[in-house]
């Protein structure tokens, strides 16, 4: 069953005095319930624009975005509240996506408060403490500010914050690309574990195909605002049909000196030809 569905979504930006930018052209994308779907593409391909449209922060120029029967761009009142409660986000930069003035307790508990899921302060604190333990932090961290955590830990807080209200759909916009390899692995593992444990649906955005391959069951490749290839990640990554996917795939660094050197040779040769 599809939880989130984008149909023919287009988005054109009209900036004053500039050429209009067609950021999205006829995007069709389905996210099946209970899966992790990957969306890959290079910088500027329109990934964030899709996310903003799902958030309801950008209005698509045309097309529909349906979440569980609700058309998000049109949603108001109760519907919108439901979307806000059931769809949560984790962003690329864990530093700027957490309010530096709030303690971890407040940050993680904010959703519980806003959606009146837990209005009692001490019980909320206990819930937050549980969540922190779940993402590998401890209740000693409740009163600390995000600044005093490392990047990986901050991203854990961001995930805890998103998971606090028990979302059905979690959307992650390049949640690991700002992190060190070792931390990236921690966060990826965490996401994977949580998803398995809680069974929510994930839309995972990245530009690194290796990351996508690691955790996604399905993948969609986006280039210049268009989905150029879509399918189960095994298939797509094993036999990419679109040249763009192929190029992306080749660009992924391979920590195997022999393979890597060989690929470097190929590239150099291509470069010379070009």
């Amino acid at each position: 069953m599809s939880l989130l569905e984008l149909r023919d979504v287009c988005k054109t930006f009209h900036a004053f005095g500039r050429e209009p930018v067609k950021a999205l052209r006829d995007i069709n994308l389905t996210v099946e319930e209970g899966t992790i779907t990957g969306l890959v593409g290079e910088s500027g391909s329109g990934k964030t624009t899709i996310i903003k449209s799902i958030m309801g922060l950008e209005k698509p120029t045309s097309g529909t975005i349906t979440y569980d029967g609700i058309n998000i761009p049109e949603a108001k009142g109760d519907e919108l509240r439901r979307v806000r409660r059931e769809v949560q986000f984790v962003f690329q930069d864990p530093t700027s996506s957490l309010n530096p003035r709030m303690t971890v307790e407040k940050l993680v508990g904010e959703g519980l408060l806003v959606h009146k899921l837990e209005t009692d302060r001490s019980r909320r604190r206990a819930r937050v403490a549980d969540l922190l333990t779940m993402v590998g932090l401890s209740d000693r961290d409740l009163d600390r500010h995000p600044r005093s955590f490392s990047g990986g830990q901050r991203q854990r807080i961001a995930i805890a914050r998103a998971l606090a209200i028990g979302p059905k759909l979690l959307i992650c916009d390049e949640p690991v690309s700002a992190l060190d390899v070792s931390v990236q692995a921690q966060v990826l593992n965490l996401l994977q574990d949580m998803q398995e444990e809680l069974g929510f649906t994930v839309l995972f955005i990245a530009h690194d195909l290796a990351v996508v391959r690691q955790i996604c069951s399905r993948v969609a490749v986006i280039q210049s605002g268009q989905i150029v290839e879509e399918g189960p990640s095994e298939t797509v990554l094993a036999n990419p049909t679109h040249p763009y996917t192929q190029a992306l795939l080749r660009a992924v660094p391979n920590p195997n000196p022999t393979v890597a050197r060989q690929r470097a040779q190929e590239r150099l040769a291509e470069e010379k030809v070009a």
Binding site: F16, G17, R18, E19
Partner: protein, 346 residues
């Protein structure tokens, strides 16, 4: 791509600014008009004179149009404004435009000199401060700046005048020009007029008259600029492109001039633009002490006399100057920053 060219974008930007400036000025006039009307007092009586009979007062009221309702007076003002007429002062009985023409050059001369002092003193100080951040030099400069800005302007004016003018005598005590010089008025700015008259001695003398008031006026504003500039410099100094420049082997001096300063002066330029209006007003605090009569004195007097059109005219002229100086600032920023030219930050 014509509609995308930097030139066009710049033009569009400037036109937009112009339109909003005009709206701003209209708003400003209405605002001032209302304010002056709220000042208690009877303009007609002021115009007619202290000993005027009630009949004389009424006659004057009628002839000045002061018997009309508020909005009619305002509309009449704008009507006259379209013809470049700012009205007549009730105390000097002179056209406001002419009155302002007489006092404006004086103020502009003072303010411009103060701005020149600010820029030429603050820039090196702030640069030195930022480069030697938290070192003894920085602390000394910072203390000096804060201390000099902590003195009440008029008090410092009195003090400096007494010390430098009267006691030591290295500068004139007051006025604009020593009595032995006789310079025909052309622009109204003594230094400029002296130069136009081909009398550099007189220009030098005029400059000496202006220097202390200009310094006193400059101090508090200079301190603001110093703060902003220092903070900005420190921020710019930490940018990666400076490390890159140093790694390229750029020597310190060139680093500062080519890479640090141009990237740091943006907010400073904007600040000076904003300060322009405030400085013309603040000039009143030094004008009195140094026997100068500028637009600040003119306006102070006009406010005290409830001289509606004189206040309006004065503020409007300052408003135009502020708008113009903001324009100049915008153009300078455009020249400075290619990203602005491309409308990327606009």
């Amino acid at each position: 791509m014509a509609n995308n060219s930097p030139a066009r974008q710049t033009a569009v930007f400037l036109v937009r600014k112009a339109v909003s400036s005009v709206i701003t000025l209209i708003g400003l006039s209405m605002f001032v008009f209302l304010m002056v009307k709220l000042i208690p007092g009877d303009e007609a009586r002021v115009a007619a004179g202290e000993n005027a009979t009630p009949a004389q007062v009424e006659a004057v009221r009628k002839s000045l149009g002061l018997d009309q309702p508020f909005f009619v007076q305002l509309l009449q003002f704008f009507g006259r404004l379209l013809h470049g007429d700012l009205g007549t002062s009730i105390t000097t009985h002179q056209s406001v435009l002419q009155g302002i023409e007489q006092v404006m050059p004086q103020t502009i001369e003072l303010v411009v000199l103060a701005i020149i002092i600010i820029i030429s003193v603050v820039t090196p100080l702030a640069t030195l401060s930022a480069l030697r951040r938290d070192g003894a030099t920085d602390v000394a400069i910072k203390l000096f700046v804060i201390l000099s800005a902590a003195m009440p302007t008029f008090w410092l004016a009195l003090l400096l005048q007494y010390l430098l003018g009267t006691q030591i005598g290295i500068v004139p005590i007051s006025g604009r020009l020593s009595r032995q010089f006789n310079i025909p008025t052309q622009t109204g700015a003594v230094v400029v007029d002296s130069l136009l008259a081909g009398n550099p001695l007189a220009a030098w003398d005029g400059l000496q008259h202006l220097i202390v008031p200009a310094i006193v006026l400059a101090l508090p504003f200079g301190a603001q600029l110093y703060r902003i500039l220092r903070a900005e410099l420190i921020q710019v100094l930490s940018r990666e492109h400076l490390t890159v420049a140093r790694a390229k082997g750029v020597p310190q001096r060139q680093l500062v001039w080519r890479h640090v300063l141009p990237n740091s002066i943006g907010p400073g330029i904007t600040l000076v633009g904003i300060q322009f209006g405030a400085m013309t007003g603040a000039a009143v605090l030094v004008e009195g002490v140094f026997g100068l009569v500028g637009v600040g004195s003119y306006l102070t007097n006009a406010v005290a006399q409830k001289d509606t059109f004189a206040v309006l005219g004065g503020v409007l002229v300052i408003g135009v100057l502020v708008v113009v100086s903001n324009y100049v600032v915008d153009v300078l920023q455009l020249i400075r920053d290619p990203r602005l030219r491309a409308g990327q930050l606009g």
